[in-house]
């Protein structure tokens, strides 16, 4: 260690001053990116800031600053600082935790701020046993050593809590590592495996399927390695017209066959905040697209012959097997979403039926030749965000560790108790002393409680 300390580079990165400086710089520079909107087009920047300032923003990478070389470099230096600084100190902490506290001289105990001397009305060896038993009973398992001037008992708790800080520091590194592993830029440019980690999206019209998605940044196609079908999409509304749920019913297919998912079912209901993960790829409900077409399902209730077809409005469909013809005459919409549809239907016997039907509601059509069931639903495409982020596991682990580490670092401490049994002025005395590396006030209470308890016991 001493040799390393002489290395100026090492010393530079081991310094806490650097850490304070970096925290300050990170905080201040981060502000820029919240004032200047990120990732707009060049024209937009020129419009907002004028050509000169816009050029400056570009040169300094402030238009995409959190991915810029200088911001990432800051984070790198920050990580190195954190690693070196912790490596520098951990050996010292290990020394402290492993230290043989029984070598502590009685003079030092007499100077400790938290201490108390009691008179024991017993011979020394009996007193030692009594004190050791008492402390053990309170959860302080002592070790003891014979000294020149008496017997020293020592017990400690929470030595490991001195590592709480380092749990926090490593958690930050693990989170940053997770961010790198999950970064699509890293997957493309360093690993040259764009399907290792990506973010993209795909629109799937109802009844259709896809085996690829479009990557966000590059716009390139990425193969999923399986197929996802959208069976159905719908929006539910509150009574005041606000959207309540965006819901897609999807099926995962491998080799053309539906695959049962975790819950054993082959279909899954995707909602906002209820994504679907399959083979490391997660699908999020993120948008939708209404079409001017309709999905029509008609069934001849007598024969059971059925047909599902996507048709545009105002087109006459001839359904040979079912012995009927139908079409959509008219529709009523609210914005882009169709509420009611006017249907025309005939089995070529008597006058055709025409009637209004609510979107996606079933109608029974009684005709001279047979009875038909019919639903007409506006065609939608569901818009899914698709993400593969193998780093999330690291990030979440890091987050958990950080909370744990913060708790340990802030609220737990390394506590030590010494009991020195010795003879003085012809009496056996016990000197209790203690220390805690944090929360000294709390420890003092524990200590006083312990000593008072002992005093009562020996009467």
């Amino acid at each position: 260690m001493t040799k390393k300390k002489k290395n100026p580079v090492w010393a530079f990165f081991a310094s806490v001053k650097l850490a304070l400086f970096l925290l300050f710089v990170l905080a201040v520079t981060s502000i820029f990116g919240t004032i200047v909107q990120q990732n707009l087009s060049t024209e937009q920047y020129v419009q907002i800031y004028g050509p000169n300032l816009a050029r400056l923003l570009h040169i300094l990478n402030i238009t995409d600053m959190y991915n810029s070389w200088w911001f990432l470099s800051l984070l790198c230096i920050f990580s190195v600082n954190l690693i070196v600084c912790s490596l520098e100190r951990i050996p010292r902490v290990i020394q402290i935790v492993k230290k043989d506290n029984l070598t502590t001289a009685s003079d030092r105990l007499r100077k400790m701020p938290i201490r108390k001397t009691l008179v024991l009305g017993q011979p020394l060896d009996q007193g030692v046993r009594k004190v050791a038993e008492f402390l053990a009973g309170k959860g302080w398992k002592t070790k003891q050593r014979q000294k020149d001037d008496g017997v020293l008992l020592f017990a400690q708790k929470g030595g490991w809590t001195r590592f709480g800080v380092y749990i926090v520091h490593s958690s930050i590194l693990i989170i940053l590592l997770g961010a790198i592993i999950g970064s699509s830029t890293f997957a493309q440019k360093i690993l040259h495996k764009p399907d290792f980690a990506f973010k993209g999206s795909i629109m799937i019209p109802e009844t259709q399927q896809t085996s690829y998605i479009w990557a966000f940044q590059t716009g390139k196609k990425i193969d999923l390695g399986f197929t996802l079908r959208c069976d159905f999409f719908t929006i539910e509304y509150y009574s005041n017209g606000m959207p309540k749920t965006y819901l897609s019913k999807v099926t995962v297919l491998e080799d053309g066959k539906p695959v049962p998912l975790k819950d054993g079912k082959t279909t899954h209901f995707l909602k906002v905040n209820k994504p679907l993960t399959y083979r490391g790829i997660t699908f999020y409900q993120s948008s939708y697209q209404p079409y001017p077409d309709f999905i029509v399902t008609v069934t001849n209730t007598a024969t059971g012959v059925s047909k599902t077809q996507i048709i545009p409005a105002a087109k006459q469909i001839n359904w040979q097997e079912g012995g009927a013809e139908f079409g959509i005459l008219n529709k009523e919409s609210f914005g882009e979403s169709v509420q009611r549809i006017k249907i025309w239907f005939t089995d070529r016997q008597g006058a055709p039926s025409t009637f209004w039907l609510n979107n996606a509601q079933e109608a029974i059509i009684k005709r001279p030749s047979a009875e038909y069931r019919m639903t007409v639903k506006q065609l939608y495409a569901t818009g899914l965000q698709v993400t593969k982020d193998p780093g999330v596991l690291f990030v979440y682990t890091g987050c958990g560790m950080m909370l744990l580490g913060l708790f340990v670092a802030f609220f737990m401490s390394h506590r030590k108790i010494y009991a020195f049994i010795h003879e003085e002025d012809g009496q056996t005395k016990v000197l209790f002393a203690g220390s805690a590396h944090k929360n000294k006030v709390g420890f003092e209470k524990t200590f006083t409680g312990l000593v008072d308890g002992f005093r009562e016991k020996i009467g």
């Binding site: 981060s30 919240t34 961010a179 606000m242 409900q285 965000q385």
Partner: protein, 283 residues
């Protein structure tokens, strides 16, 4: 009796409580301080009932959700956290005049929530992105942290006032003399920041988990997220300056105030001055 009337009573009792605490500061009459405390406790009890009632009212409207989802509700929750945290502090550390520096924050939040034109008090249904238990966890953790930081900021101001009186040799002034010892305030600032930092960290983490569940990105550097991490950096620096460089006293008091300004900006500034994902907070 409905929840808004109860919130009105809360605002009034916090206002009176602040007045009595300031009275304590000026007149050094213990009884005045006790009344301030009783009013704060009364206010917080009424407010708790009101929060429960608003929650229940949302179910009556058929859109049941915890009252933590828009600007109005978050302000109310902020004042609740701040007051509760302060009462806890008063019982634990007996530093009563601190109330004069903290209760005004609680009043300001309640008054702003109730009277600002831009803030709707309606219980409105949740759009799909907000229907998440992580959101609830996010709001609760963040606001416990913010409450603590508000208290720390108040303590910071108190420290500086006392300090300037001491250096000018005017500690006999009634105002400065009624403030606790500098060392005690310093210690309280530190403890409060530690507590707040823990919750802010949890708040940022639960927010990231929520974003990941809803959008597939746990961090997107949107202005609100960025400001929360700026705040986190400020308090991390404060803690390190204290632990490793031995900073204390005025410098930490200033950092407590700067930290709270950063909190304030994260919470309000971003909604009103910058644009981003958290736009739900502006309505």
């Amino acid at each position: 009796m409905n929840s808004s009337q109860l919130f009105g009573i809360t605002t009034l009792s916090y206002l009176l409580s602040s007045a009595f605490y300031i009275g304590l500061l000026v007149f050094k009459n213990k009884k005045v301080g006790t009344i301030g405390l009783i009013l704060a406790i009364f206010g917080v009890v009424v407010q708790t009932a009101a929060l429960g009632m608003r929650w229940q009212e949302s179910y009556t409207l058929g859109i049941g959700h915890a009252p933590l989802t828009n600007m109005y509700e978050s302000l109310v929750f902020f004042s609740w956290c701040t007051t509760l945290f302060y009462i806890f502090l008063e019982f634990k550390y007996k530093a009563r005049v601190v109330g004069a520096f903290v209760m005004p924050f609680a009043v300001a939040a309640m008054a702003y929530a109730s009277f600002a034109k831009s803030i709707s008090q309606q219980i409105s249904p949740l759009i799909p992105a907000l229907q998440s238990n992580w959101l609830i966890a996010h709001v609760i953790t963040c606001f416990i942290g913010y409450g603590a930081f508000a208290v720390a900021g108040g303590l910071g101001m108190m420290y500086l006032i006392k300090k300037s009186a001491v250096t000018k040799g005017k500690q006999q002034d009634s105002l400065a003399a009624s403030l606790p010892e500098l060392k005690i305030i310093d210690d309280l600032i530190h403890k409060t920041i530690v507590f707040g930092f823990m919750w802010l960290s949890a708040g940022i983490i639960t927010g990231a988990v929520w974003a990941n569940e809803a959008w597939g990105t746990y961090w997107s550097w949107d202005p609100k997220e960025t400001w929360s991490i700026i705040t986190w950096f400020v308090y991390a620096s404060t803690l390190h300056a204290r632990f490793t460089r031995g900073w204390s006293g005025s410098r930490i008091a200033w950092l407590a105030i700067i930290g709270f300004i950063s909190v304030f900006f994260t919470y309000f500034g971003v909604n009103f001055l910058l644009s981003g994902l958290h736009s739900y907070g502006s309505g």
